[in-house]
């Protein structure tokens, strides 16, 4: 039996409910909240500031340093061990690489922009959610950047191409009867104005045609995420004016 209706009742090209807010952490230079369904990410940007340890300074341009962290009580019920793990280090690294093509830190030699991404609750797609939050937070911090990166996961389960997979869908054969045991989960980050891909990872097995189809789907839905991100930043300033007019 082919996966004909999604477990949470969404359409196959439909995103989970998304929500974003800019400027949620007062102490940070810039910050953001981003929610995709049950996955929640907070990002805080500090800097540009002096880089320590000193040997990591780059005299040509500023450096961006991401830190992805799942909170102990996030995840599917099992306690997540705090501190850096192999997984979280890798995700910090790819987040960094996903954001670098857009930011322009030529004016900040020897400096670092720290991006802290914290996830209080996760249900698949946490790196995408983290990237979305981090991109808003960087813009909110007034960092010069070409565009706001948007990210979403696409994939295939039971021969059906899906957008924005949940945890259950990533492990679909454990939850429903499937014809095919192959599941693919592909997080993608896209620079909306150019359509360039700045993050592309894959977990699982997928055929070439299906992969290309899935990537096209990602490009289609990315504008919706981008819209939410841009509105979050604009709403911050609109909200400020309403507050002050009263």
């Amino acid at each position: 039996m082919v996966y004909s209706k999604r477990l949470d009742g969404r359409g196959f090209d439909e995103l989970r409910p998304i929500e974003a807010k800019a400027g949620v952490i007062k102490n940070a230079e810039g910050s953001a909240y981003f929610r995709m369904g049950k996955t929640i990410a907070y990002a805080a940007v500090y800097g540009p500031r002096e880089m320590f340890p000193k040997f990591k300074q780059d005299p040509k341009k500023g450096v961006i340093r991401c830190n992805y962290n799942m909170m102990p009580f996030s995840g599917a019920g099992e306690r997540v061990r705090p501190g850096p793990s192999r997984r979280s280090k890798e995700i910090s690294f790819v987040t960094d690489k996903a954001l670098i093509p857009t930011v322009d830190l030529e004016d900040f030699p020897n400096a670092v922009v720290d991006v802290y991404i914290e996830l209080p609750q996760t249900d698949a797609g946490s790196r995408c959610c983290g990237i979305n939050a981090a991109a808003i937070a960087l813009a909110d911090a007034g960092i010069p950047m070409r565009d706001i990166v948007a990210s979403v996961a696409v994939g295939q389960a039971d021969n059906q191409i899906l957008v924005d997979l949940t945890y259950e869908e990533e492990h679909l054969p454990e939850y429903t009867e499937c014809e095919s045991k192959d599941v693919a989960d592909i997080p993608v980050a896209i620079i909306p104005s150019t359509g360039q891909i700045s993050l592309l990872q894959m977990d699982g097995i997928i055929e070439k045609d299906a992969l290309m189809k899935a990537l096209h789907k990602a490009k289609e839905v990315i504008s919706k995420i981008s819209e939410v991100q841009k509105n979050a930043l604009k709403e911050k300033y609109a909200a400020e004016s309403i507050e002050n007019n009263e």
């Binding site: 002096e50 322009d104 020897n110 813009a139 909110d140 010069p144 706001i148 104005s193 930043l233 604009k234």
Partner: protein, 241 residues
């Protein structure tokens, strides 16, 4: 036909501002194919054919001849290292003081750790090494009063046209106020008046992107101090006093 945004509208990075090659990209914008896009969060400013964005957020980037307020964070062999609320620290050389300092003199006699100084930036290198001086009128160590911090991009509104805004606050509250370009502001006066001045400054900072600011601040100050303000009385403003 080709400008896609309104003047003074909030724009975000990557947002298209115009789709015509007839416009010139200014600060905070860039050209991509035949579009003009924003590269910073800010307000759009359209001046003839030039489109630029005025940033709303971000850290202070040092500029030559800016008057800033700095905090001494280290004493070097022949000078002081100062935090100027920017990604980079600045150095005030002992040769840049009004009085002559002997070679082996104890530098903490002049400026000690955690002292605040008003200083002027004399030089900024490509690697953002910053030199300061206190050898000019009004530049000195700050005693008493308090230092408050605001976003550096709000400073022009706090100073106002030819210093009109800050002069108004000074008149109303009888405080000494020094506004550093880096967003640090020194306020010194009677404790109650100091409070009013700080409230007024914070009000300007949070409402700076809305029109009718001067009127609102005037009303606020008149209400708080109970004294009528005469807006006409403006002197020349040099960033200090």
């Amino acid at each position: 036909m080709s400008i896609l945004v309104k003047d003074k509208e909030v724009v975000v990075p990557g947002e298209a501002l115009a789709d015509d090659l007839g416009f010139i990209p200014g600060y905070g914008t860039y050209r991509f194919n035949n579009k003009l896009l924003a590269s910073r969060l800010g307000l759009v400013n359209i001046e003839g054919k030039v489109i630029k964005t005025i940033p709303l957020a971000g850290k202070y980037l040092p500029k030559r001849n800016d008057v800033v307020i700095g905090r001494v964070i280290d004493i070097l062999i022949s000078g002081w290292r100062c935090d100027i609320n920017s990604p980079y620290t600045a150095v005030l050389s002992s040769k840049e003081t009004p009085e002559f300092i002997e070679k082996n003199d104890d530098l903490s006699r002049y400026f000690d750790l955690d002292d605040y100084v008003v200083a002027k930036i004399t030089n900024v290198t490509s690697q953002n090494l910053i030199d300061l001086t206190v050898r000019d009128q009004g530049l000195r160590k700050l005693r008493g009063g308090r230092i408050i911090s605001v976003n550096t991009h709000k400073v022009p509104r706090i100073i106002g046209k030819k210093g009109s805004m800050v002069t108004m606050i000074k008149q109303a509250t009888n405080c000494r106020i020094i506004v550093g370009q880096n967003g640090w502001i020194y306020v010194d006066g009677e404790p109650q008046n100091e409070n009013i001045a700080v409230l007024a400054i914070n009000k300007i900072a949070s409402e700076s992107h809305l029109s009718g600011l001067t009127e609102r601040i005037k009303e606020f100050l008149e209400k708080e101090t109970g004294v009528k303000i005469n807006l006409e009385d403006k002197g020349d403003y040099n960033g200090l006093q």
